[in-house]
């Protein structure tokens, strides 16, 4: 590691004089990489940022809309708490999978991933059951803005989870590789999938909390 | 050689167009003459900058045209010059913004002695409502709207029945009477705009927007819808006539109140309600 290891603030960066010979000597040694992270991880952060902004904007409109008089909260089926618990459990299992993957215990990783996938399917199924139940009770999407937001939020979160399941499938493929597992690749993918999983749990907790306690 | 000359012609042509073309705004007919003044101020400040930049470009293109025996200057930056330019620009911006915000403050501060009327927009036409003798506009609800109650007046509001309803595209207003127009829409966005009054504001279904002005010139002015509102947007026109007191009163006497329109439609139930409120 370098003795020039100080974090370079964005302000310092932007005040460099690239034409200055002293600065040029420094710059010649630059590796050309700005952030010490793999491109995969950066790409994932990019997607997480976009998706966070996306949900934040929805939440802003939600809080704008709910102050109007016609807003009527929906009942909250117990099933939703069960689903939340399922998602939470899958995320917790994923933590142990990540630990196992770092220790190269891929048998454990495989078992864990299968359980996570199963739980995710149960969650989606559970959400659909909630929809069915609410529709049965007469809470249609156009009935009230609160209903509309409920269906919208659950649907968007569900779509994100389906996206996550696609990535989960890719992770499975890397871990189940018939040839030798390329350990580094598999670990990287497991880690990325894990981060996304926890992100989805976080999103759900925020949305669920918002709809329950507002 | 031709490039700097053409740039020069573009700059001079723009200035000439401004001074000699016949196209300019019509004379202001409301108290918002100071909006015109802020436009003129902006016009002169920006105009000077535009001409200066253009002439400078023309000069550089002519003076520093390519010559293979000459090399350009090597000057990465000049902090002093850049600071001076920043400060000058900031001063220019302040010079434009300050008067702008002062006038805006006047525009959004409604005086106490305004006469409030309502302008209603719909696809595609205008309706107008005056407060009647009690001087207060009755409240409305879109659910009340039917053939006999186009404005959707609340019949349980005692202020409703003396409101004067004008279904048609012609509104009369009184000279020198500060006026607050409350704007309402029944379907989509519209915008109540009279070019000579300079002011405008969108009409939003589900809420009431407003602005105020004082007409200072008599005459007939055209109302335009200034917010795109569908296929017949361009045909959503009307007329506002600014009258002297006598003409205005004469016109006002010919208009019908809500109660009178109900009578005309022989809606006896509601007339009873109305009479009870008298």
């Amino acid at each position: 590691m370098s003795n020039r290891n100080k974090e370079e603030s964005i302000l310092q960066l932007l005040t460099q004089k690239p034409w200055d010979p002293a600065q040029a000597e420094l710059d010649n040694l630059h590796s050309g990489q700005t952030i010490d992270l793999s491109t995969g991880k950066l790409g994932q952060r990019y997607i997480i940022i976009v998706s966070t902004i996306f949900f934040c904007l929805f939440i802003v409109t939600y809080s704008d809309r709910m102050i109007y008089a016609d807003w009527q909260n929906m009942p909250e089926p117990l099933l939703l708490w069960f689903n939340t618990f399922v998602l939470l459990a899958s995320s917790i299992i994923f933590i142990s999978v990540q630990v196992a993957s770092n220790k190269k215990q891929f048998e454990k990783v495989k078992r864990g991933l299968l359980m996570i996938g199963g739980l995710a399917f149960i969650f989606i199924l559970g959400q659909l059951l909630v929809w069915q139940k609410l529709i049965g009770l007469g809470y249609y999407v156009a009935g009230n803005p609160a209903n509309a937001y409920f269906y919208l939020f659950t649907a968007l979160h569900g779509l994100h989870l389906i996206g996550g399941l696609i990535y989960w499938g890719m992770t499975i493929r890397k871990v189940w590789s018939f040839n030798e597992i390329i350990v580094k690749n598999a670990q990287h993918t497991v880690e990325l999938c894990g981060i996304y999983w926890h992100f989805l749990l976080f999103v759900w907790l925020v949305l669920f909390g918002l709809m329950s306690f507002s | 050689m031709i490039v700097p000359i053409v740039i020069l012609l573009v700059i001079l042509g723009s200035v000439a167009f401004h001074f000699w073309s016949p196209w300019w705004w019509s004379e202001v007919a409301s108290n918002w003459g100071n909006i015109d003044s802020t436009i003129l101020l902006t016009f002169w400040v920006t105009g000077v900058v535009f001409v200066a930049v253009g002439l400078f470009v023309a000069f550089c293109v002519w003076k520093y045209r390519y010559n293979k025996d000459r090399t350009a200057d090597y000057e990465p930056e000049n902090a002093r010059l850049e600071w001076i330019l920043t400060i000058l620009t900031a001063l220019g911006v302040i010079a434009l913004l300050t008067p702008g915000l002062i006038v805006w403050n006047k525009f959004v501060t409604v005086p106490d002695d305004v006469y409030e009327i309502e302008v209603l927009g719909y696809q595609w036409g205008w309706g107008f409502r005056l407060p009647g003798q009690d001087g207060i506009l009755g409240t409305t609800d879109i659910n009340n709207i039917n053939d006999e109650n186009m404005f959707g007046l609340n019949t349980d509001d005692p202020h409703s029945f003396d409101d004067i309803l004008i279904d048609g595209d012609e509104l009369h207003i009184l000279l020198n009477q500060p006026l607050k127009v409350n704007l309402r829409s029944l379907d989509v966005l519209h915008d109540f705009y009279v070019p000579q009054f300079r002011a405008k504001m969108d009409m939003i279904p589900g809420m009431i927007t407003s602005y105020w002005f004082t007409p200072i010139k008599t005459g007939s002015f055209e109302i335009l819808c200034a917010e795109y509102c569908g296929t017949a947007h361009y045909a959503m026109l009307g007329t506002v006539l600014v009258d002297e007191k006598d003409d205005y009163d004469e016109w006002l006497n010919e208009q019908m109140t809500f109660k009178e329109t109900l009578a005309l439609n022989k809606n006896n139930d509601l007339i009873k309600v109305a009479s009870k409120n008298d």
Partner: protein, 597 residues
């Protein structure tokens, strides 16, 4: 490696460590299909993006001719008000999103970023390819909306509810649905591309290429992409909610209203149309800069190269790009001064909007100061750059009218607005696009575009567009409202506006047809243009320093270039030539004096 990207190496004369060539798995095209169609090479994707954008842009161009004919010579081309509003809507939407955004980021971004930062390709080539195909799908959905019953939406490019989805507006059936779906697909495709532009710029630069050594083109595209990352989700959110209002009958944006023409009451209640406007402009204003910032960057490089002088105040230029990018998120409501929002917002947004004029003005000063004491070659790219300077200065200054809230009150929704935004985000960026095409065409094809045709194209385009939009401001001063199918001769306006409209229409048609000269030039020159030698403009930046021209697969030959200087070492005192490319080390510069300036 250190956190700041500098490696720990002992300083010395030529202390550049041997390049660790990272074994990057490069994608290799095996057949015609993977080489030209489903290709992962950013250069090919760039051309695909550009051609698609230009093709749909032609639809937008022809729409504008029809619109102008209707305004000045009603009846010559038979159309009803619905058709007129559909043309206006599609013209706006196509030009802003499908032409300019796609061309600057998908086209120039893809071609120039890897080459300029010294990378072999984008970091996620497969995602990059998908990005193009998703964009093409968005374009096809847009085109499909022309062929559904009721035609494309005529809601105006801002798609304001309630009218966007009610029956008084043309195309309120399938047209608006396809429009929103197309936009959503565009956003998805664009996010995939943006992922590449941002991460390639941040992570995949070659050795020695610090961020502050990047050409301003890359800075402009980079910051524009970051803006898009924050802005486009707002469009997506607004689109999804309006789609639900339309299809499922929710009331996110829809208040209780009547059907068009005082009809039945519709089944909506309580929604807020202004909320849509906030979301739309939270996207829409940064969108202006998503188009403008790449243009700013590119034009800086054009001026610098063809004036043989370093860009004046490079650091200020970078700061201005970053500051403008940041400020563009807190000015959106200046589009809504008369939209019925709380009037007190006017004070805040007028102030932020006028503040944004300061960095923008500084950019203009620095461009013209780059010309000062330069050695200006009046090549076609330089002509377009000068045309941009005049046009942009004009359009930027009229922004000071509209940003100042009280001045906006009489001028908003008039032709003044139309003239302003066409000058500033229509003509100005398009002039840069042309300049850039004339500039980089030799790099892409190995041949020059025809110079004489280029000059004809420039003069008609520049003078023609100026004659269209300069007089149009005066219609705005007179208060002539925009989006009018027909302006009746009433009390509002004198008859003389007919004359000015006819003049504008003729100018527009002439300018429009002059673009055919350009397309002819483009097509003919690909095969028959004059052959260009390597680095024909004697530029410093890396894209011209490839061993092959046009750059081959993987951009650079065996070794990536190592960067020793910033991208603007033009006319360095003491050097033999008037330029020193970025990859020339100090020891290679014949005169050592060159380094000591």
């Amino acid at each position: 490696m250190a956190a700041n990207g500098y490696e720990d190496v002992v300083k010395g004369d030529d202390a550049v460590p041997a390049l660790e060539v990272q074994p990057q798995e490069l994608y290799h095209a095996k057949s015609f299909w993977t080489r030209y169609i489903f290709c992962q090479d950013a250069k090919v994707i760039a051309v695909q993006y550009s051609l698609t954008a230009i093709a749909i842009g032609l639809v937008g161009l022809v729409s504008s001719w029809l619109i102008r004919m209707q305004i000045a010579y009603p009846g010559v081309i038979p159309m009803d008000a619905s058709a007129y509003y559909q043309l206006v809507t599609m013209h706006g939407m196509i030009m802003v999103i499908y032409l300019l955004t796609a061309l600057f980021l998908g086209g120039f971004g893809n071609y120039l970023i890897p080459l300029m930062v010294g990378a072999r390709d984008m970091v996620f080539p497969y995602v990059n390819m998908l990005s193009y195909w998703v964009f093409l799908l968005a374009v096809l959905i847009l085109v499909a909306s022309y062929f559904v019953p009721g035609g494309p939406t005529g809601a105006g490019w801002t798609l304001y509810p309630p009218q966007a989805i009610t029956s008084g507006t043309p195309g309120s059936g399938l047209g608006i649905i396809l429009m929103i779906v197309s936009l959503a697909v565009f956003v998805v495709g664009f996010t995939m591309g943006g992922l590449n532009y941002v991460i390639t710029t941040l992570q995949a630069r070659t050795r020695g290429m610090t961020l502050m050594r990047l050409p301003l083109t890359v800075w402009g595209i980079f910051v524009a992409t970051v803006l898009a990352l924050f802005a486009f989700p707002a469009l997506l959110v607004a689109g999804i909610m309006m789609l639900l209002d339309n299809i499922l009958g929710t009331s996110f944006f829809m208040p209780a209203i009547l059907e068009a023409g005082l009809g039945e009451q519709m089944a909506y209640d309580g929604g807020s149309p202004i909320l849509f406007q906030h979301l739309f402009w939270f996207f829409g204003h940064p969108e202006v800069y998503i188009v403008a910032l790449p243009a700013f960057g590119i034009v800086s490089d054009l001026i610098s190269v063809h004036a043989r002088k370093n860009i004046f105040g490079y650091r200020m230029m970078v700061w201005a790009i970053v500051i403008i990018g940041f400020l563009s998120f807190i000015v959106w409501a200046h589009h809504m001064y008369v939209a019925g929002m709380n009037p007190w917002f006017g004070f805040f947004f007028a102030t932020t909007t006028l503040i944004i004029a300061i960095p923008t003005a500084l950019k203009v000063y620095n461009w013209v100061l780059t010309l000062w004491r330069g050695n200006i070659q009046l090549t076609v790219p330089m002509l377009f750059a000068i045309g941009f300077l005049i046009t942009f200065t004009n359009g930027g200054l009229t922004g000071l009218f509209l940003g100042n809230v009280i001045v906006d009150v009489p001028l908003s929704d008039t032709y003044f607005v139309v003239a302003h935004f066409h000058m500033v985000m229509g003509i100005a960026p398009v002039l840069v696009v042309y300049g850039a095409i004339y500039h980089w065409f030799p790099l892409i094809t190995g041949r020059f575009l025809n110079n004489r045709l280029g000059k004809i194209h420039f003069w008609i385009t520049f003078l023609g567009s100026y004659s269209i939009y300069f007089p149009m401001h005066y219609l705005g001063f007179m208060g002539v409202t925009r989006r009018y199918f027909e302006v009746f001769e009433g009390e509002a306006f004198p008859v003389s506006i007919v004359g000015i409209n006819q003049f504008i229409t003729i100018a527009a048609l002439v300018t429009g047809f002059a673009q055919l000269v350009f397309f002819y030039n483009l097509i003919v020159s690909v095969k028959h243009g004059d052959k260009a030698e390597k680095n024909p403009w004697k530029a410093c930046s890396l894209e011209w320093q490839t061993t092959e021209m046009p750059p081959g697969h993987g951009n650079f030959e065996k070794e990536l270039p190592i960067v020793h200087r910033w991208a603007y070492d033009f006319s360095v005192p003491g050097a033999n030539e008037d330029y020193i490319p970025q990859n020339i080390s100090p020891s290679e510069v014949s005169n050592a004096q060159a380094e000591k300036t």
